[in-house]
């Protein structure tokens, strides 16, 4: 950039190469929390906790005790308790971009707030606590450790409801939006991701095979498609923020508008 600062089209804001001077700084901070959060997510669940990929539901008692007493598990849950809140920044960003849609009333945003306000707990922090309880006192009765093991993995792999409704709400918003904030194919992709979540429902009744919580369909297929979906959403969010006109920023709210 040649000059110290270029006057932007609106004339009121100035643009420069420094990150902190970016007029969309607030959204960019939330955006960059997404890769940070998912990197931590990988460290917590894959490297430290060894919760992903999940061990078998038919594990022996010795195997369960060994899983619960593995050295990284406690630290993994500590990091989860510290960092899970970052997910709220991702959700806030989705809501901010959904607010720009045309032909979409607040009803879908309110639904999105409510669903995500609950979503992370049954499927992420609560199972983390089940594992942390086992790691905290490996001297618990083996029957209790086995129950914590089941409860942890059933919640972690099988808690689908909040995410299903998140996909429904998001894809309806994408389909109705006349401005094309997000591409329509992302709506179809969300529906597809929803279907793979439904495929995981048999984890509660089966202990072996592709539908078990460590199975090819319930876990691996769902996880691969979810990672692809999250990547696409993140790229689309990047484009949506990038293309947001500066005139749309810093608009005062109308009374009673949220």
């Amino acid at each position: 950039m040649t000059g110290a600062a270029l006057v932007s089209t609106s004339g009121s804001a100035t643009r420069s190469s420094r990150f902190v001077d970016n007029p969309k700084l607030d959204q960019w901070i939330c955006f960059w929390s997404i890769p940070v959060f998912y990197t931590l997510f990988g460290v917590i669940f894959v490297l430290l906790g060894r919760i992903m990929p999940p061990p078998t539901p038919t594990m022996s008692t010795e195997g369960i005790v060994a899983f619960m007493t593995s050295p990284g598990l406690s630290l993994a849950v500590v990091l989860l308790a510290l960092s899970l809140g970052l997910y709220a920044l991702n959700s806030g960003l989705m809501l901010t971009q959904m607010k720009r849609m045309e032909g979409v009333s607040p009803v879908l945003r309110y639904a999105y707030i409510a669903v995500l306000g609950v979503g992370g707990l049954p499927g992420c922090l609560f199972p983390g606590y089940m594992f942390a309880l086992g790691a905290f006192r490996p001297e618990y009765d083996p029957a209790i450790l086995a129950m914590l093991y089941d409860l942890g993995f059933l919640c972690f792999v099988g808690s689908l409801g909040c995410f299903v409704i998140q996909y429904v709400v998001f894809s309806i918003a994408v389909f109705l939006d006349k401005r094309g904030i997000f591409p329509k194919w992302l709506g179809y992709f969300s529906i597809w991701t929803l279907v793979t979540e439904l495929v995981a429902t048999p984890v509660f009744v089966t202990q072996t095979g592709p539908y078990a919580w460590d199975g090819l369909l319930s876990f691996y297929q769902g996880t691969v498609i979810w990672v692809a979906w999250q990547t696409c959403v993140t790229i689309c969010l990047y484009k949506a923020i990038k293309s947001q006109p500066l005139e749309e920023l810093s608009i005062p709210l109308k009374p009673n508008e949220i």
Binding site: A88, F136, L253
Partner: protein, 242 residues
Amino acid sequence: MQTKDQRICLWLVPFFGSLFIFAFWNFQGFFPPMSPTMSAGEVAAFYRDNLGHIRSSMILCNVIGVSLIPFYTVIVVQMMRMVNASRVFAYSYLIAVINGGTLFALADLAWLNAAFRPERDPQLTMLLNDLAWFAFITPVGFVIVQNFCLAMAIYLDKGPQLVFPRWVAHFNIVTALLIAPSAFALMYKTGPLAWDGAISFWLHLSTGALYVVVMFFVVRAAIRQQDDKAVAAQSSWKEQTA
């Protein structure tokens, strides 16, 4: 007046705050806090010996568990008044508040369940007690993000008159940092980081209490400022139309 509802939510804080102080004092397991090194037998004995206190405190906590939510939503409304480029921090703050509130609701249910059948296998009573303490002390990630969002919204407030003064942003960052180490209570049974320790219990709870008191006055000042602005806007409108 437009802000009557906000002021009602604000004044719920001292009301519910005093109920919290009473419930925590009455619980018997907080002052001094129960130790994570207690054996299953000792935990079961604690529940048998203090049954009335535990039940009455935790039934009260169950009723008032998420009673600070109206206060936090006043903060959301005040964040919406700030001149930020977008409302992304206000939305994120709201989602973090909902998540954090849910966990405290879980903690008191686990305490109540432990006290429901004192004759239960002591191992199970200890399990419920552990879960309650985990859910009470360690889910700090939501508070950190909540405070971070508020602080960033204040730092980036470009309005001619700031809704919250800048020191409130520093204050939010500092309280988040002081509360953060409590997550390590999931790992340690002894020392300052254990759930009954100097950092995870005493520093955490005193910081939390101080935070609510300070924010009470800060939010009160922000609501007054909103009132003054509304009055000024009305009188200037009257002058223009006269």
